[in-house]
């Protein structure tokens, strides 16, 4: 993890992405520093998930460059690159757990597919990951359909962390969780980031998690990053959309502790 040169985990330069004639991401540039938690905010349907899915190669880019830990990546329209699957773990919005496998098998899946190791060690690692995300070893035998929303997210995180990736992408990790569970999840992400030295790229609408766990926040509006920096700076941003986002009625209650 540490030896890779360069201070940036993800570098995006002049990225253009669209569907049909509709341009969603318009010459966007963004750097994610190694070891930080970057929160990405933006309007619903504004291209946050598109940006994330383009970086991980699920949506082809029209132009621009994407580098993940120093290696160019991202699918283009005419070819798909060998993606850096062992470098990243992804937490999808709905968890995307394999419904026919138990929780333990879900976590072991990346290990089983990528590495050669004994079943016993694989079981131990799966249990270790389960405990690291705050679940009991007994939960390993459950099926995804038997889990609550918060547990699903935790298991999905455990699976994303199975190979100890350098970067974790989180797509709205706290959506659909109650404030307590969301707070726990935020704390969990922070703890894991500190212990494992993770770089976290988090798409979120949760103002509380932006406030508490994100080292920097990037605001996406009109297909571009209009502001990026620590929460403090974003609160002072003059950009109209950013002002509307952070100074709207719903966010007023966060102001006292934010500034």
């Amino acid at each position: 993890m540490q030896q890779t040169p360069g201070p940036f985990a993800i570098r995006v330069r002049d990225l253009v992405v669209g569907f049909g004639r509709h341009v969603v991401i318009d010459h966007l540039s963004l750097d994610v520093r190694r070891g930080e938690i970057l929160g990405l905010v933006g309007a619903s349907g504004g291209g946050k998930s598109v940006l994330m899915r383009t970086i991980i190669g699920l949506i082809p880019k029209w132009g621009g460059e994407i580098e993940v830990v120093g290696k160019p990546t991202g699918a283009t329209l005419d070819r798909t690159t060998e993606n850096a699957a062992d470098q990243w773990g992804i937490l999808f919005q709905q968890g995307a757990l394999f419904s026919s496998l138990t929780v333990r098998q879900n976590i072991q899946f990346p290990l089983r597919e990528n590495l050669v190791m004994s079943q016993r060690l694989m079981d131990e690692i799966a249990t270790a990951k389960l405990e690291m995300v705050g679940l009991a070893p007994e939960d390993g035998d459950k099926f995804p359909a038997e889990l609550s929303g918060g547990m699903t997210k935790r298991v999905a995180l455990a699976r994303a962390l199975a190979l100890d990736p350098a970067i974790v992408f989180l797509d709205e990790p706290t959506s659909g969780l109650d404030p307590i569970a969301a707070g726990d999840f935020d704390a969990l992400i922070k703890t894991l980031q500190l212990t494992l030295g993770l770089t976290v790229f988090m798409v979120t609408h949760d103002l509380a998690s932006l406030n508490t766990v994100c080292d920097r926040v990037a605001a996406l509006a009109g297909g571009k990053i209009v502001a990026v920096g620590p929460m403090r700076e974003l609160l002072q941003s003059e950009h109209p959309w950013v002002r509307a986002y952070f100074h709207g009625k719903r966010s007023q209650m966060l102001q006292p502790q934010a500034s």
Binding site: Q3, S99, S100, N114, L115, E131, G197
Partner: protein, 378 residues
Amino acid sequence: MSSTPMLTTTLENDLLELNPAGSWTAANVTTLERLTDAVARELDPSRTVRVNMRRVEELDTLGAWLLEKLSRRAASAGHAAEITGVAGNYSGLMQEVHQVNRHNPDPIPTPNPALARLGDLGRATVGAREDIAGFLEMLGSLFRALVGVLRKPRSLRLTSLVYQLYRVGWQAIPIMVLITFLIGAIIAQQGFFHFRKFGAESYTVDMVGILVLRELGVLIVAIMVAGRSGSAYTAELGSMKMREEIDALSTMGLNPAEVLIVPRIAALVIALPILTFIGSMAALYGGGLVAQFYGGMSPAIYVARLHEAISVTHFEVGILKAPFMALVIGIVSCSEGLRVQGSAESLGRQTTTSVVKSIFLVIVLDGLFAVFFASIGM
């Protein structure tokens, strides 16, 4: 960037020092497991074990866990064990790993295989009873919904019915025609080939006519419909169930049976006789073509022979069975669809069950009808 992991040991008096070095990461797991297994045996005789991590260049959860496991094994054998030289950035990870895997979940007891077999048999028996109950329940709710529709004709989902009719009827015609045409042709060819040996070629027409109209036309079409439309019904209703759409319908005060199931089954009941008719005609046509080009029988003679051989009764026997078969296919596929649980696997399983069960029931029903028609002399 990642260097080969190593694990050397030095033994001084009673102190066994383990010196892991290099990249202790998941990418090297095969080497790491071999190294730690080899060392594990040396642990036992020594009094004190020290894991010196000074030379570890890279570490992740897997490597940390393997080292932790070594020290834990030494500790559990009653020796003193310590881990030293942990680099600052890895201390959090080592501490985290120190907490995990402390208690193992109780292993799930594996039951006696004979008892398990017996248990499966019992479950299957109860399951069969539930199957019948489910079938009757669906039949009941279908009739209740039908009564509702009769009482309030406007509650019939006409758009939905027409759409389903288009899907299971109109769109199915080309494939049904093709398959029944081929079946008719094959039967005629076999008839000519074998009957020729004892000069009974002209009876081929009787065989084709009676077989197609009474049995094969309706059976082939029903089996095709079960595979084509029944499976689609199960998959549709199953995924609607998975995404809580059916629950949404009931909370809006609508009866899912009325909204989703009545139009589907009604469409099948209407479409299957029509498809059977079209299919039977295609099969007779196929038989006629073979009679002309393979059996050397002119179309006029074929039609005349057919006219003598079959009567309206044969046609009635075939076509009367069609709506009942449609009902069975519809009920089985809809009730299997509603049984789908959360997982994608369950959707696949119910769809398979739906097709297998409908085809089985169609054939059983056909047998029952054969007995019935024989006893009333049709």
